[in-house]
């Protein structure tokens, strides 16, 4: 039972009465070509500290919009998003976001890109190197983004997002563009980072296996407008075996909700 994800991990941290992330009746509408487009409709969800929540759904279900709103890059049209009870009004150090693309500054070295994520902008060189080692890029500190592979670039972006020591890590399909092997390696790395720290993770994905391997809970969204179709808690011990019988049970359950 030692590697089991236990509810105790949540309860330990829930001494304060607020959930880590609280979405209440969140709606988002865009005006596209003069007509109103409802992207998300009355979405409510609480995420406890140290949870790993995956949001899964077809493209166009507003997953990215939701993540950007939690990050504070976007405001909901209706409803509220709270972090530890505090209303989100803009980006903040308490949240780190990894975009779908690495979005590194091409004119800056890997080290400098990560440095820009640090609150003190890297005056503390030790922390910078800690991050470089964490994502295994210490040998590429002085490389430019164009010299990196896709997986390396996403690792640099991950280090930049972790640089502010956030409580919440938001991942927008950061592994989507990677090849299968790199992807599995990155999943393991993510797992390690999540298990070592007291991070709360919200990850958007459209990969069913990835969601089951990583998450404590999986939220399924329906497309246009995005609504919660179902929430599936995953009660499997970590590290998870993709070939286990239980794994298939979750796969079937998830597919059934997605249908």
């Amino acid at each position: 039972m030692k590697d089991t994800y236990s509810a105790g991990r949540i309860e330990n941290n829930s001494a304060d009465t607020f959930p880590m992330i609280e979405l209440s009746n969140v709606s988002k509408e865009y005006i596209v070509g003069g007509s109103q487009l409802s992207v998300l409709q009355k979405l409510s969800l609480n995420v406890a500290p140290a949870e790993f929540v995956s949001i899964i759904g077809q493209s166009g279900c507003g997953k990215t919009t939701l993540l950007h709103m939690i990050a504070g890059l976007n405001q909901p049209t209706e409803g509220q998003i709270r972090i530890r009870g505090k209303l989100v009004k803009g980006p903040g150090r308490d949240r780190g976001l990894v975009f779908q693309e690495p979005r590194l500054f091409p004119w800056a070295t890997v080290a400098h890109n990560i440095r820009l994520g640090l609150p003190d902008r890297g005056r503390d060189e030790g922390r910078l190197w800690e991050l470089l080692r964490l994502v295994g890029l210490q040998d590429f500190a002085q490389a430019y983004p164009r010299e990196l592979s896709g997986g390396m670039a996403q690792r640099a972006a991950l280090a930049r997002a972790l640089a502010g020591s956030p409580e919440i890590l938001l991942l927008d399909e950061p592994l989507g563009a990677l090849d299968a092997v790199t992807r599995l390696k990155m999943q393991d790395q993510l797992m390690k980072i999540w298990q070592e720290g007291s991070l709360t993770v919200v990850a958007v994905t459209h990969d069913i296996d990835e969601a089951i391997v990583l998450s404590t809970r999986i939220v399924v969204l329906s497309p246009r407008p995005g609504r919660i179709k179902g929430i599936i808690p995953v009660d499997l011990p970590y590290p998870r075996d993709r070939t286990a019988l239980d794994f298939n049970v979750y796969r079937q359950e998830l597919l059934a909700v997605l249908e």
């Binding site: 990050a71 504070g72 890059l73 803009g90 980006p91 903040g92 150090r93 976001l97 975009f99 693309e101 979005r103 500054f105 091409p106 004119w107 800056a108 820009l116 994520g117 902008r121 430019y144 983004p145 164009r146 930049r160 502010g164």
Partner: protein, 265 residues
Amino acid sequence: MFFDLEGDRIGLRENVRMRNGLRGLAVPLLMVLLWWLAAESGIGVGILPSPWEVIITFKDLLASGELQAHVKTSLLRIVQGFFLAVGLGVPAGILAAVFPPFAQYVSPILGFLRQVPPVAWIPVLIMVLGIGEATKLAVIVYAAFFPIFMNTILGITQIDDHFWEVARLLEFSSREILWELILPASAPSLIAGLRLGMSNSWRALVAAEMLAAFSGLGYMIMAARSLVRMDEMFIGIAVIGILGLAIDWGWKLLEGYVLRWQNRE
């Protein structure tokens, strides 16, 4: 030899580069040869000096220090005027790109002024500012301003929205937005503008020196004309062209260094 293939290919590449460089020299050499033949055969006696005469005059001008003095004067004017133009054009470009109302106020008048070549202003400037340094400086600033201003705007408006989102996410200060995002992201366009601005001002300066100066390379050519010294005019033209080339070469080096993060080849 199979095993020396790589070395062979590198050697080949060097040969190709050398051959291309030599090709570029062929036309000027041919021109000098034709010139020399023309002078030898007595075409344009009294007007067209021979290459040899020009070289002797060049040596004399160097020995007296006259040529160096003109070059120094012209270069000093360029440097002063160019820095003034950068000081005006880059901030104005940033303002216009970041605050659209500013662009709306200034774009019609700047669009009009862009169409008026610097030389057209010289008579007006002489009336207002006289034949002093101010006139030359104004011409240089005017000539360099527009490419610098326009390319600054272009560079900034072309910055990917995604990078602005990153800046917001990482809570950049306004200073960081300028130094970590705006300037490096617009550097390719900015440097192209600076390079074009300097080459424009170099041309405009020569015109200004011909019409309103008592020193500088433009003046040297005009003075040679009143003395019917074709040899000195040739030297003036050659020096202007070669200095212009050298400056542009310097820009290329700077560009390569500043934009080293870009994909080369």
